[in-house]
């Protein structure tokens, strides 16, 4: 019986997700339209960027035809969509490599940061939110509020610089910017692209220790923002749940307080929390742009800003598409989980 029910629910969730998929693909289409239009209004001549400004008019014209710039705009857009769907985001002017290849190279570094930060946010932020909801207006509750308020008000790049100034420049407890110390760079073969994992594969324990020291500061910085957001949301979800009558019933039945809070109440918060965690993950991608710039962390964010400052439009738009798609994908996933987990969500 129960199995039947779950199966039916899963089927329904799948059907709804398919419907959602249609919405998502239109959104993706719009996303491409925006990046395409941005690429067209930009005052940089894409042909000149490829052939250089010393090229003869014939070479220039040839390149223009080869790039399809003589076609009507809508045809160019269709070609663009086709290219993007085949994973072709153009060639970066700065690195002279395909943008897709560049992004594949830098992306693991960002994932490393964002995943570590999400773990910090979930493991610290959610319990913090629960405790402050249970003991409202206690000292801990005020601490949570201050953490949340600071998280919404502190510029992330500034907090990162201040942390570098205190822990690196003044106290010298932690290493400075970068993923490893300069003399360890390019020693470990990038297999997964995640430094710590690569070190384990290569059995370079010394470098691994160094890499872990390096990740502490940027990951805690991003983790702090994730924590600030998650603790605040958890707190308000929990307060809402603890007011419900089933909590009273559970207490009357003699369920231990621990179980009432962590199993009954938090269990019912789990569903909205999925969405919130997904949202905060998207926020971290955004925060990583500034964090990576501050910490010279060679990830997607740093790649994006470097390309921006060098007017490398293919790279900028490629990175924008990638981040936008991840954001979309995470939202889709959270929506799916939401529908599987919550029978009320229709």
């Amino acid at each position: 019986m129960l199995q039947m029910l779950t199966r039916r629910r899963l089927l329904k969730a799948t059907r709804q997700t398919l419907k959602l998929l249609v919405i998502v693909s239109t959104t993706f289409f719009g996303l491409l339209l925006i990046t395409f239009l941005i690429g067209r209004v930009v005052p940089i001549d894409p042909v000149l960027a490829v052939v250089g400004d010393k090229a003869s008019p014939e070479v220039y014209e040839k390149a223009r035809l080869a790039m399809g710039l003589h076609l009507p705009l809508w045809q160019q857009f269709l070609i663009y969509i086709n290219n993007v769907l085949h994973g072709d985001l153009g060639v970066s002017v700065l690195t002279a490599k395909p943008v897709t290849e560049d992004i594949r190279r830098v992306f693991p570094a960002t994932i490393e940061l964002a995943v570590t930060a999400t773990c910090i946010g979930v493991l610290v932020g959610i319990p913090l939110g629960v405790f402050s909801a249970v003991k409202r207006d206690s000292f801990l509750d005020h601490v949570t509020r201050v953490i949340g308020l600071l998280g919404y008000s502190l510029p992330i790049f500034w907090l990162g610089l201040m942390a570098l100034m205190v822990f690196y420049a003044q106290l010298d407890w932690l290493p400075g910017p970068g993923r490893v110390d300069v003399f360890y760079e390019d020693i470990v073969e990038p297999v997964t692209g995640i430094m710590i994992v690569d070190c384990i594969i290569a059995r370079e324990w010394e470098i691994m220790r160094n890499a872990i020291w390096h990740v502490i500061l940027p990951a805690s910085l991003l983790g702090y923002y994730s924590m600030a957001y998650l603790s605040r949301m958890t707190r308000s979800f929990m307060i809402e749940q603890l007011r419900q009558e089933y909590i009273l019933t559970a207490r009357v039945k003699g369920v231990t307080e621990w179980k009432v809070i962590w199993v009954h109440a938090l269990g019912n918060c789990a569903i909205p929390l999925i969405t919130v965690v997904a949202l905060s993950f998207g926020g971290l991608l955004e925060g990583s742009v500034l964090t990576e710039t501050v910490f010279a962390w060679p990830g997607l964010g740093l790649y994006l800003t470097n390309s921006l400052l060098n007017a490398d439009m293919n790279a900028v738009l490629g990175a924008t598409i990638v981040v936008g798609s991840i954001f979309l994908g995470v939202n889709l996933l959270s929506d799916f989980l939401y529908k599987v987990a919550d029978p009320r969500a229709r």
Binding site: S153, L290, L308, F327
Partner: protein
């Protein structure tokens, strides 16, 4: 009548259960809201900081002791002193004066973004909610597309297309800021649309334009004001972030984010170069968060805690 009696009379007039006019009722509601707002000390602190920011921006030439862009290489990287309150930067410019002048840029950004993004959002949201159907679907799809990007990334892409500069940063931030307002305005409109008073107005012959602008928009305002105020902090942080990346205000203009960025090379020995402008950004965005929280409690009683 003594002064005390006058005040008591005014209070009674404001708090009466049987107001004689719409004006009296509105004034009474406003008075109660004011009382509630001033009860929240943190919100008052936020309001005071913002008033201080506005005053500083208006009287910047009188307050700042030095020219914010005049370089004085003989006095570069001076620590804090009675002469240079916040020290000097790598070009010998007085940091305090630069922060004072920078308040104008901050205010400029938030006012323009609010003026551009909020009306667009409210228009899209009310039209979408009122008409429903395919108009709603199309407008909400467009809104979703803009919401699908992380805000800063989309702003970055737009700045890349428009070129760096504070005006372009403002346009980019506005383009990325309106979708949440549209969502809120639409949600409010949906709850209002089918109420009896709207039907009554329609029966009296009012067209959609009149209903939306005169009857629906005013009712969306309070929740929108709360949201815009709370968003101000985020707008300040985004603008400062763009400045920090070198894509917002260009040197030598005293934008706080760009100042922080310029101070990066000096974090080993000259701490004041990044500390001072960063603190300014933090204090102002904190003030907007505090004010926004206070306003939410007054204007939006539905949301709790």
């Amino acid at each position: 009548m003594t002064r005390k009696q006058k005040i008591q009379g005014a209070r009674a007039w404001l708090l009466t259960d049987t107001p004689d006019s719409a004006f009296q009722a509105a004034a009474g509601r406003f008075y109660l809201g004011l009382l509630e707002f001033f009860h929240n000390r943190l919100a008052v602190v936020g309001l005071l900081i913002i008033l201080a920011l506005i005053t500083t921006a208006i009287f910047a030439p009188q307050i700042a002791p030095f020219d914010p862009v005049a370089t004085d290489l003989a006095n570069r990287l001076q620590p804090l002193s009675a002469h240079h309150w916040f020290g000097t930067d790598e070009m010998g410019r007085d940091i305090f004066s630069r922060i004072v002048w920078g308040s104008r840029l901050t205010l400029y950004v938030i006012i323009l973004v609010a003026v551009i993004a909020a009306p667009v959002g409210i228009l899209v949201g009310t039209v979408s909610g009122y008409f429903g159907g395919s108009i709603d679907t199309v407008l909400m799809r467009i809104t979703d597309i803009f919401l699908a990007f992380p805000k800063l990334i989309l702003a970055l892409a737009f700045v890349a297309a428009l070129g760096p500069g504070i005006e372009n940063a403002i346009i980019a931030i506005s383009i990325t800021s309106w979708p949440p307002y549209a969502r809120i305005a639409r949600a409010e409109t949906l709850t209002i649309r089918n109420s009896d008073f709207i039907r009554a107005i329609r029966l009296q012959g009012a067209g959609p334009l009149r209903i939306i602008t005169k009857h629906i928009m005013p009712l969306c305002l309070s929740s929108l004001i709360v949201r815009v105020t709370l968003d101000m902090a985020g707008i300040i942080l985004t603008a400062a972030g763009l400045g920090f990346l070198g894509l917002g205000a260009q040197p030598p203009s005293p934008e706080w984010g760009a100042m922080t960025s310029a101070g990066r090379s000096f974090i080993l020995d000259q701490w004041w170069l990044i500390t001072m402008p960063g603190t300014a950004i933090f204090v102002v965005s904190l003030a907007f968060n505090l004010l926004g929280d206070g306003l939410r409690e007054v204007l939006d009683p539905k949301s709790d805690s």
